[in-house]
Subunit: 626 residues, 2 copies
């Protein structure tokens, strides 16, 4: 079935998260995360202030640092819509003012270029990230307009986009940005404003990328262009003779993609735009390529946590099944990107397979990127630690902290969707929604019995579609006073009926702890198993075991009784029986087999997202098994 | 018991290797390895030719490239003493001539400095490797003199050493070389010539290293000095503020060393000299430090192969028990260095523990560095491969190929030793020796029954000391016509008696395949075992298993019947029963435990030294066990 939009998320103002788990995160966002990030944005804001003051030189940081301010502003838009806060609002206003005043009369806006290379606008597209920053500015502008009705950045963003589109385009010079982002943002801008030229320009950007010769080949041979991007990788990451643009998905036109390659976040952002642009086009070649890339990702290149991009060298992909645990890069932003791409694919197909991956990335690979306190962050998210991995307050390259803030703020967009005659529940997160069909609420969570209440505006027929997760092996639903059975359609139980006010559907997913193994081509996971419970991947930490988790061997046959516990802001512990290699050994490094000792232990596993919240602490997701 | 020399190796002219296994390697040395290396030395020889021609500039390669020529010449000295060869001799003469003619009138000789920085002699001691090259020149000179009676380089080496000693020293400026080597070489020069000033200078070098301030701190702050070493790491590997000289063992005076640190080869070369210098000094602090460093190495920082230095970042040591298999650096030169240090410790203590480690490094970590064909080399020696690791004909940094050639050529020095009233057999390698006690021969090898024949010059008493390896659990010896029992002294069976012509001792070590496990603090080896047979560590290669060896799980309880085989120039195969994770899996990366299949297999293990001789090939030493 061709890609055509089956549903859209509800606007943030129409869906409120009332989930005990996620509401805590959203509260922390306003009370801790966003104020903390504002305090960290100093050098970024200083760059804007220098531009406003008419200075030249003095830009501090990476060429893409403007984007941190934009992403923070976007996250504020979501957060303040849920929970107003005067101080945060004042910070946001200050940022908006700086952004407005920094824009050149011709619409161009990039503090790095304006301060350091005033004549260098759009001269080094492979490296300088201007269009990446523009993309994030657009997203912030749309979010502010949608969520807070604040349209001040919309005009700034539109004029900056127009400046780009006056420079490159179908009838103009051929070029596009090294880090994708503007493509998906322009689609969003078009959707929000109804101005279709932005969508068509995004389509052009996605279509021309990867043709030969690449416009970047000339830039990479041009010392003047390279000088503008001197702070970036340049030739190191884009080899010449022959040119290789894999790092930024400039290796082949999109319809020829057969695997995800290069920098993981870039790849995700490209595919988000491409999926959006495939909507309603009946473009079989594009759809096939997107499904092929998706399969290469989720069937051969994705961690069980939804982390992607195993290598720090390119912040991205390597070979199929190369998924080392200890050295896993698995950037927080990449897991967020995966969730966003999966969500787009879901909206176009209504296939629960995609929601399954969104869930995986959301609850695990992405959420692990932020501390329970809300003010410490992981950039890379290994699946094993020997105790040396800690979240940090900030990074010189600080893409992840505001990105996870955006995700938590905009969580509602992943939870539910409404389409022609259908309302979809993708993720079992408590919410209250004002839908086109009337009020719909979900109470409870995936661990227990949930209640979905429907209060239609007018009595009428529509389908209520509930995702049935793969981990839910015994789903029970009940719709009192109704005999009809649900249909099962591509991962969703579909209750199609005439709904009356007060109709109440109860759902129990009966999640059970479940051991997983990996394809044996993932060499690191041979002889190992990972424990899951509902949407959560679990891990074993030294703090709970009392020994390094690497010493533990799980008895995967033994029953596991989930246990509610107050540690780590409240978690369900999974106590696992097994043995432990005791750290006693003869006074020698190697000894005949049988020299070591083992003892019986019960190991308390905790959710992966909550790891490393109690100081440095060894950890393992894929534990050895008997 | 204080360090005092209990034995010395026999001069090469007095001990001939007649071992079926090792004689093949020595033959290959003359027929393949050394001619091949000569052909690879082109740029190195060209540097000498430029100096001879009086040119300036144009030096090609690393600052230490002269040493490759010296090490090759040293290997030639050993090889030609065993098996004369006209062509090789002519190449050697050419090299000697170039070296002689390159020396400056003042004795200085370093093609890099002479060509590139004619006024820069001894100006950048932490980086430029002049004294390292001098050390290798001395070793070549002594070897040529000892083995071939060719004293042409001896004078060159002595004059170069005198130039160094006129520059730095007790009453002069304080400085010493970044890469140890000259210290051990000067001791060797003193032993050979009887000129004790070289030994005393070596002692000074070893003693002053690690004091504060280090003379290198000033060099590292001096742009002129740094410029001379521009091709080397400089500040990258020697951080300042505070200064950290760990990379080159300049972190503390030798008596304070409590662990091996930094670059592994450098550390070994320092300790070889320090051990030699401790001889007869009754220096408890130095002896304790050497034993402490040794223990830190063999009990916490050594691979089961005798490979050392897990990290490529510093070509050296990291933390205790950090011994990853796949990314193991374990440089060939470092294993050779370990064997040489162990041999020194053995000569000073007559403790078989050291011979045990020499054996481990010799037969495994070092010998794996050269192909069976003799013309391909490993620089790094991982203990696991996914199939991407191949030996190369040469390297831009080519220290390993001539080093392994030296080791094979000079093998006799590791095999046996003679001391006051005692003859020692350290390694069970067939030989014919002219000892101070008369002719002693060893026939056979460690796999079967060996015969040791004694033909004393005059009837007289001496002790014949045979090392009893730890892997030999049931040693049988027989000395026909004698009732006396052997004493067991620190790892040696000692037959002390009046020997008559024709006395014959037979020895059977009854080696059995033996599984080892590692201290559980070596996280990578948890749940794994390594198979050994006599001195050999075994491994499993994809070529023999038909599948990736990582998929194999050994049944370590099943009996193993060693099997002679013609593959790999003749090896004893060890067939191991076990199961294999079959590479069939549902069409998904992760699936509930139980989705995979296993089948029974017999896996044929081969010696580690012989791996990767049949093209790219996955391999594993530490296999999973049931």
């Amino acid at each position: 079935m061709a890609f055509s939009r089956r549903m859209r998320p509800l606007p943030l103002s129409k869906l409120r998260i009332v989930d005990p788990f996620w509401s805590r995160w959203q509260r922390t966002l306003v009370e801790t995360t966003l104020p903390h990030e504002w305090a960290q944005l100093t050098t970024r804001l200083e760059n804007f202030r220098r531009v406003v003051a008419g200075e030249t030189g003095g830009h501090v940081g990476f060429v893409f640092d403007d984007s941190d301010v934009y992403k923070w502003a976007e996250a504020c838009a979501y957060a303040l819509a849920v929970q107003p806060d005067k101080t945060l609002r004042a910070h946001l206003d200050e940022a908006i003012g700086l952004i407005q005043k920094s824009q050149r009369p011709d619409g161009y806006l990039d503090t790095y270029v304006q301060l350091e290379h005033p004549d260098g606008a759009w001269r080094n597209m492979h490296g300088v990230h201007e269009s990446y920053c523009l993309g994030h500015l657009i997203e912030a502008a749309v979010a502010l307009s949608e969520s807070l009705g604040d349209r001040r950045l919309l005009d700034v963003a539109r004029r900056f986009a127009d400046n780009l589109m006056a420079t490159f385009g179908p009838e103009k010079e051929l070029n596009y940005g090294g880090h994708e982002e503007v493509e998906l943002a322009l689609v969003r801008l078009a959707d929000h404003t109804g101005e279709t030229q932005y969508r068509e320009y995004a389509r052009w950007c996605v279509e021309v990328r990867g043709a030969r010769p690449s416009p970047w080949e000339a830039e990479l041979r041009d010392p003047a262009a390279l000088a503008i991007g001197e702070r970036m990788g340049g030739r190191g990451i884009f080899p010449l003779d022959p040119y290789n643009g894999e790092y930024a998905q400039d290796h082949a036109p999109i319809r020829e993609h057969d695997a995800v390659v290069g920098h993981a976040v870039r790849a995700m952002y490209l595919y988000i735009a491409a999926a959006d642009l495939a909507d309603g086009q009946d473009d079989a070649a594009l759809e096939t390529a997107l499904r092929r890339a998706w399969d290469s990702l989720v069937k051969r290149r994705m961690y069980v946590t939804g982390g992607i991009g195993p290598s720090g060298d390119n912040e991205g992909f390597t070979q199929d099944f190369d998924l080392p645990n200890l050295s896993a890069y698995a950037e927080t932003c990449a897991a967020i990107g995966l969730a966003l791409w999966g969500q787009k694919m879901l909206e176009l197909t209504a296939d629960g397979e995609y929601a399954e991956t969104v869930e995986r990335a959301l609850y695990n690979g992405a959420l692990a990127g932020i501390s329970l306190s809300g003010d410490r962050f992981f950039y890379d998210n290994p699946l094993e630690s020997r105790g040396g991995h800690e979240r940090k307050p900030w990074f010189s390259c600080a893409c992840c902290p505001p990105n996870i803030a955006r995700m938590i703020g905009n969580l509602g967009s992943l939870v539910a969707g409404e389409g022609e005659g259908a309302f979809f529940v993708h993720q079992y997160v408590g919410f209250e929604a004002e839908t086109r069909f009337g009020k719909i609420t979900l109470e409870g969570d995936w661990k227990g019995t949930m209640t979905i209440r429907v209060e239609p505006k007018v009595t009428g027929e529509f389908a209520l579609c509930l995702r049935i997760p793969e981990w839910a092996e015994e789903v029970e639903t009940e719709l009192p006073g109704a005999e009809e059975e649900a249909d099962f359609e591509t991962g969703y139980a579909v209750f199609r009926r005439v709904w009356k006010a007060g109709d109440t559907l109860t759902v129990s997913l009966n999640a059970e702890p479940l051991w997983f193994e990996a394809d044996p081509r993932v060499r690191e996971n041979l002889g190992r198993a990972a424990l899951t419970y509902g949407p959560l991947v679990y891990c074993l930490e030294e703090k709970d075991l009392g020994s390094a988790p690497q010493l533990f061997i799980a008895d995967t046959q033994a029953p596991i009784e989930p246990q509610e516990d107050s540690r780590l802001e409240g978690v369900t512990l999974l106590p696992v029986e097994g043995t432990l290699d005791v750290e006693t050994f003869p006074d020698t490094l190697y000894a005949p087999l049988g020299s070591g000792e083992v003892r019986q232990v019960t190991a308390e596993f905790v959710p992966y997202y909550a790891w490393a919240n109690r100081g440095p602490n060894a950890m393992q997701v894929w534990v050895r098994r008997m």
